[in-house]
């Protein structure tokens, strides 16, 4: 696995981090902030932004020191690095984004225990170059933010009839409480995951079809056996 990771391109890292290995859609990690703060698209966005900052910081530093930390103590070292970045983001948000800080509250310190971040440090940054780790952090973070905003947007839209605070269905939309409460997060997430699986299947079918067409064309034109690459 290490060898394949070393050889993959930055585009591949971006696609994997954002979609194919999406923290939420594919790995189902980081459920705590996902279910806790996604009552609106805006909350989801800022939670995602805080997570991206921590992820970039921790991936960069872990990648920088990856040769210097003995394997036995790597987990406490990574956690210390992550906790430091989380505290810095926490203080910065308290100072310069006070209102959003009051809303996100407890969930900012809880980024420390978002296993998605330790997961990237352990699975990617500790084995890859600094630039690859940076790209990975941005891709994974963007994918996480996208998922948070999607779920937050769906819940805000169905629960309160609003999107980013603007009334979509008019002011007299009767609040659909279920979607604002935690069970609504699970239900909405289930439908989103189903949608993601449909999209993935379509993508795979299209790719297969294209590969098959290309294969038949090649074999018709040249009558040489092309290597099927699926």
């Amino acid at each position: 696995m290490n060898n394949t990771i070393d050889s993959i391109s930055k585009n591949q890292i971006l696609a994997d981090g954002f979609w194919h290995n999406n923290t939420i859609f594919a790995q189902l990690l980081g459920m705590c902030p996902l279910l806790g703060v996604t009552t609106s698209a805006e909350n989801g966005f800022w939670m995602g932004a805080a997570t991206i900052l921590v992820l970039i910081g921790s991936n960069l530093v872990v990648s920088l020191v990856r040769g210097g930390i003995p394997a036995q103590v790597r987990i406490p070292a990574y956690i210390t690095i992550i906790a430091a970045f989380v505290t810095m983001v926490d203080l910065a948000m308290n100072a310069w984004m006070h209102e959003m800080y009051l809303i996100l509250g407890l969930f900012i310190p809880l980024i420390v225990v978002n296993c998605a971040i330790l997961g990237r440090a352990e699975a990617f940054a500790s084995k890859n170059s600094v630039s690859d780790s940076l790209v990975d952090a941005i891709a994974v973070g963007a994918g996480f933010t996208f998922a948070l905003m999607l779920l937050g947007g769906v819940r805000e839209l169905l629960g309160q009839g609003e999107l980013f605070g603007y009334a979509v269905f008019g002011a007299d939309y009767p609040d659909f409480l279920l979607f604002i409460l935690p069970p609504g997060a699970f239900i909405a997430l289930g439908f989103i995951l189903a949608g993601v699986n449909i999209i993935n299947r379509r993508m795979k079918e299209n790719a297969d079809k294209k590969a098959a067409e290309a294969l038949t064309e090649v074999s018709l034109n040249t009558e040489t056996t092309a290597q099927p690459s699926t």
């Binding site: 003995p70 070292a77 203080l91 100072a95």
Partner: protein
Amino acid sequence: MSNFKIDREQIQMVIALVAVAVVAVFFLGLTDIVTREPIATAQKSALHKALVQVLPEHQNDPLADVIHLKPSADESSDNGGLADKTSKTKKPFYPAKDKQGNIIGLAWETIAPDGYKGTIRILMGVLPDGSVHAIRITDHRETPGLGDHIVLNTGWINSFIGKTLKNTRWAVKKDHGDFDQFTGATITPRAVVKAVKKGLELFKANKKELLLTPPSNTSPISVPKAQTDKGEKS
């Protein structure tokens, strides 16, 4: 030899962890130094924003003219939990004054320890005659969509305006009082009503001290008053 090798590995581990910790502490300290001032300012401006909303139009800076009420035993036991710390020191009252320096309103924080999900902090502005001018929720953890209707600046929160201890039954309608509850959330408004009532009782009990001490003279008196309070604290 084998012993030596193990020792070296262990030392490497210790060095690595200590180095990571030291660097982390260094940057955390740096962040703290950089953000300390902005955080204090942000908290102050958040309080100021809320004060402007609950106090009548005033010509002074309520934050600078703060009056500290001497702690009373009954009050600290009433507020419970978190409030104990603040009320044991000195409870701050923020006065609104007109041009002549007369107090035309007072704002202070009252705490509802029995919200649906913990403490609700309420900033209440009261006129000298003991009627509520406005209240605002400054901090809460109530259920989004149910209990958090209390934060909306329109609607329910305005039903407190003009209410005094005498002219109102301080309970939600379910408990035969004058305040609406929300569908699906009775505990939250019940806690807020109770806390505001408690705040008014506190005001009533200390009315003389709050209204008479500073405003008998014009505004200059409030400045030395604030200074002496600081001196006593330290």
